[in-house]
Subunit: 124 residues, 2 copies
Amino acid sequence: MRSTAPRISVLERMRRASAPLSHAEITEELVPLGFDRATIYRNLVDLAEAGLVSRVELGDHVWRYEVRGTESREREHPHFVCNDCGTVACLPAVSVDIRPAPGSRHSVVAEVSDVVLKGLCESC
Amino acid sequence: MRSTAPRISVLERMRRASAPLSHAEITEELVPLGFDRATIYRNLVDLAEAGLVSRVELGDHVWRYEVRGTESREREHPHFVCNDCGTVACLPAVSVDIRPAPGSRHSVVAEVSDVVLKGLCESC
DNA sequence: GACTAAACGCAACTAGATTGCAAACACGAT
DNA sequence: ATCGTGTTTGCAATCTAGTTGCGTTTAGTC
Ligand SMILES: [Mn+2]
Ligand SMILES: [Mn+2]
Ligand SMILES: [Zn+2]
Ligand SMILES: [Zn+2]
């Protein structure tokens, strides 16, 4: 994983984010600075494959990316999307308890790694 | 909402499903019978808007639809997608308990209407 | 400083979703 | 039973976000 200008810019932009960013959102800022959308795209994918960022789909047909880390907000956490305004939020402090059915012996689910909640946000 | 041949076929097909179906999956079966994909698409969207079916995005960039109802499996329930094989499952019996952070006063989340879990399925 | 795999820039392409429009149709009213 | 009108259909075109091919450039190594 080489240290290149586009890659650094992408990572830096993502570090400043408080919610997952889409390729379009990052593109919007970095293309005017002279970077190419395909390069940005491939960097996001590569960084995701390398595990440096996570790639999530929150229900609106857009991939979003966010830096992974050990810091509070950076560790794994549930995400939320407002059905009305589309607002995306990280829920680093919310705990989600998943309980199998009272009577069911074994579920299809072996392990849950990601939780996405949808509903209405405060302002909607 | 008029009762038309394509609309009835779409609804009937969905009633036989045990997991949400994509437009492509429904198309695959109904186009050979003479129905048009755009018509099927619009019916799915219209039925969703009318509240007869729900439209969900489970993380693979494909809209899926399933009949809504009052019966056991038909009421609101969490969904699961396997990160590895892509299997989609309904979890009508799984209860998900969402607890806000211990110290947080108000969250961005006002109301949760849908839950999507991602992870690994039994066979992966 | 030369070498080579990795990364870039530009343009083309894909899949699924979505829409425009004229023709066909469902259904309440006559 | 026929009519009139707003719905719905069928077909083709368009849109969006994602994805890929390829020749050129470059970071990192020797
Ligand atoms: Mn997040
Ligand atoms: Mn379901
Ligand atoms: Zn909102
Ligand atoms: Zn699986």
